[in-house]
């Protein structure tokens, strides 16, 4: 197990290294001298550009710039005459704030959004899928799967404005989506995020309902289910004690792998509902050509995905006794 873990972590670090090299190369090498121009904004003079170039180290060869960047992440570095503490991802071109601090500041919003959505779509998705599998071929199955199909074909950026129109603008049923820290007021936290949660969850619910259903149907066809039935367990016990557990393994895996998809969903959900999270930060920094911020968000999001994948592997090995981790 330990050897497996070590191998996975080394592999993950290599992946992150490659991603950082490629994004760095694309972000800082392709637009060439534009970087300095972007950094100094509208009132720019050639002398100012030269100064910024030196400050950012843009006059050095690209590989050296990259090494400096990497070194900054682990040990901090000097940018201009300011000391950027580790982990240093540079300063925003737009508001001169440290990239890492900005992302960390906005992380609670995105995390809250993701957690609420996960809880909702797991409850409804798994519930619908179980229902459909138990009533396979009957009306309930068809209705649940029909709902899943329509829900899965919807897009957050279309749903969000309609939700706002129905629940906020024309009826005042719900407050305008906003973020309040959970620790300040759990009720306001949930109230402010309920619409984005429903929106994000609806799309995933469909997918998880289909997944649960097919997974359940597969498990119910397995030999051990026949055995426990023959043993005389009630249908209820068969489903709850045996089939459910077997069916959850693939769902746990997919859930872990879906961290990337959830983040993608957060980008669009946060933009649609004007929530100040990491997703909206990504969009705004792209539109403002804020290179260090974009680079930082890509790196941190990729790290999150890679870490999540390792956790999934470990958890997977823990829940499914059939899987022997081979190092």
């Amino acid at each position: 197990m330990l050897a497996f873990l070590v191998r996975r972590v080394i592999g993950a670090l290599l992946i992150l290294l490659v991603i950082s090299a490629i994004t760095f190369l694309l972000f800082f090498a392709v637009p060439g001298n534009e970087v300095a121009a972007l950094s100094c904004g509208k009132s720019c003079t050639p002398a100012l550009i030269d100064e910024i170039k030196r400050g950012l180290g843009l006059d050095q060869p690209i590989w050296q710039q990259y090494l400096t960047y990497l070194g900054g992440i682990f040990g901090g570095r000097m940018i201009g005459d300011k000391m950027c503490e580790a982990p240093c991802f540079g300063y925003s071109f737009v508001n001169r704030q440290p990239v890492f601090d900005t992302v960390v500041d906005r992380l609670p919003v995105t995390l809250s959004l993701a957690i609420g959505a996960v809880v909702l779509f797991l409850i409804f998705g798994v519930g619908l899928g179980m229902l459909a599998a138990l009533r396979k071929g009957k009306a309930a199955d068809k209705i649940a799967m029909g709902f899943a199909l329509v829900g899965g074909s919807m897009q957050i950026y279309v749903l969000a404005p309609f939700f706002l129109y129905i629940f906020v603008y024309s009826s005042d049923l719900l407050p305008r989506p906003h973020y309040v820290s959970f620790f300040d007021s759990p009720l306001d936290w949930a109230g402010g995020l309920i619409l984005p949660w429903i929106c994000l969850a609806l799309i995933h619910t469909a997918y998880y309902a289909r997944l649960t259903r097919s997974s359940m149907v597969d498990v119910l066809n397995e030999d051990f289910i026949r055995t426990v039935r023959a043993k005389g367990l009630s249908t209820r016990e068969v489903y709850v004690k045996h089939a459910f557990r077997g069916a959850m393994t693939p769902i746990a895996t997919i859930l872990g792998l879906d961290i990337a998809t959830l983040f993608a969903g957060a980008i669009i959900t946060e933009t649609s509902f004007s929530l100040v999270g990491v997703g909206q930060l990504a969009v705004n920094s792209v539109l403002a050509s804020d290179l260090p911020m974009m680079m930082g968000v890509v790196m941190l999001a990729s790290s999150a995905v890679v870490v999540a994948n390792i956790i999934v592997d470990v958890v997977y090995a823990a829940i499914d006794p059939r899987i022997k981790v081979t190092a």
Partner: protein, 342 residues
């Protein structure tokens, strides 16, 4: 209307040309020899949902193809700002004067707020943008995926390991973030930042970025298929009888990969259409004045409080297209794989 017949011809042509072992039929007495393609087609034809959704998908393609014709018959074009040219259509604040977003006998789906363009024409030409980009991307992505998937699966060993690591790396970046961050950079490859990029250049940049990232699904699926096919007896037989690798790949493997390839295509087309719309919605895809669903949806979101109907049409069109394509995909999968029991 003979739309069903057209779908029939299309699918039939696709399946039979791809199927190497077509058996000629024509005898009326049983048993009739039928190729796998013909069997799949018979199964598909019996599936009502599949046929109906196939017709809907075909309708979208026809509308996209016939957009200039529709424009001619309807008497309007997507670029003219009717609301600004003619007084009485838009209010001072750019809101259509008539109720429901200005829907009437002349402007069937109403007028765009502020710019006053015809919604129906924007929608019809928007299909073109979305479908054209999506189809080109799916074509490129499938081609790359097939080549890489077969290479990894057939060669195995180091090539497989290397390709596997490349895919791992690509999958570690959240896709929307990747598209979002790299589309402006792809654009910067062609044109200096800050300058106005023509529509075809923006489309090319989008296609490039979507293709670079999009081939992983096809490659992974095909790799798995090839891995299992490689161990089958008919491949051994071909190898023993002295067939070259080239022959084995082209004549033995490829015909057996038609089903997974079709499955990947049915999954990828709606995925690319919605991704393109999402990017345009976020402001990095297609921009004014190119008609585009994602851009329309963005505008619709801005005007949701005053002209809610404007969002209904692009939103509904996108939903119907994606839904129909997903249903069609399910039916195609069922038809091609008789063992699947949903």
């Amino acid at each position: 209307m003979d739309i069903g017949g057209h779908v029939a011809d299309l699918v039939q042509a696709e399946l039979t040309t791809a199927d190497a072992s077509s058996v000629p039929t024509g005898r009326s007495k049983p048993p009739v020899g039928r190729s796998p393609g013909q069997l799949a087609w018979r199964r598909f034809r019996r599936d009502k949902t599949g046929v109906i959704s196939g017709c809907v998908v075909l309708f979208f393609f026809l509308v996209g193809l016939g957009a200039p014709l529709i424009s001619l018959l309807y008497g309007k074009d997507p670029d003219t700002q009717y609301g600004l040219e003619r007084p009485g259509l838009l209010s001072d604040t750019g809101i259509p004067m008539k109720p429901n977003g200005g829907i009437d006998g002349e402007f069937w789906l109403g007028l765009e707020p502020k710019l006053g363009r015809d919604v129906l024409m924007q929608l019809v030409y928007g299909i073109r943008t979305s479908l054209l980009i999506a189809l080109v991307v799916v074509f490129i992505v499938t081609a790359i995926g097939v080549i890489i998937g077969i290479t990894a699966g057939y060669l195995g060993g180091k090539a497989d390991y290397f390709i596997g690591r490349v895919i791992d790396t690509l999958l570690a970046i959240p896709s929307t973030l990747f598209f979002l961050a790299f589309t402006p950079i792809a654009l910067a490859l062609f044109i200096a930042p800050g300058k106005e990029a023509p529509a075809w250049l923006r489309a090319t940049a989008l296609i490039l970025v979507l293709s670079v990232f999009g081939w992983t699904r096809a490659a992974r699926l095909l790799r798995g298929q090839v891995l299992s096919l490689r161990e089958r007896e008919f491949i051994d037989a071909a190898r023993v009888s002295g067939a070259s690798s080239r022959r084995i790949v082209l004549k033995e493997l490829l015909p057996n990969l038609v089903t997974p390839i079709l499955v990947v295509v049915t999954l990828d087309v709606p995925a690319m259409v919605t991704t393109e719309a999402a990017l345009s919605y976020l402001g990095v895809g297609m921009v004014e004045p190119t008609p585009d669903w994602g851009r329309m949806i963005h505008t619709g979101g801005d005007y949701i409080q005053t002209v809610p109907t404007y969002l209904v049409f692009p939103g509904l069109a996108l939903l119907i297209f994606v839904l129909a394509f997903n249903l069609l995909g399910d039916s195609v999968r069922d038809a091609l794989d008789p063992k699947s029991h949903r």
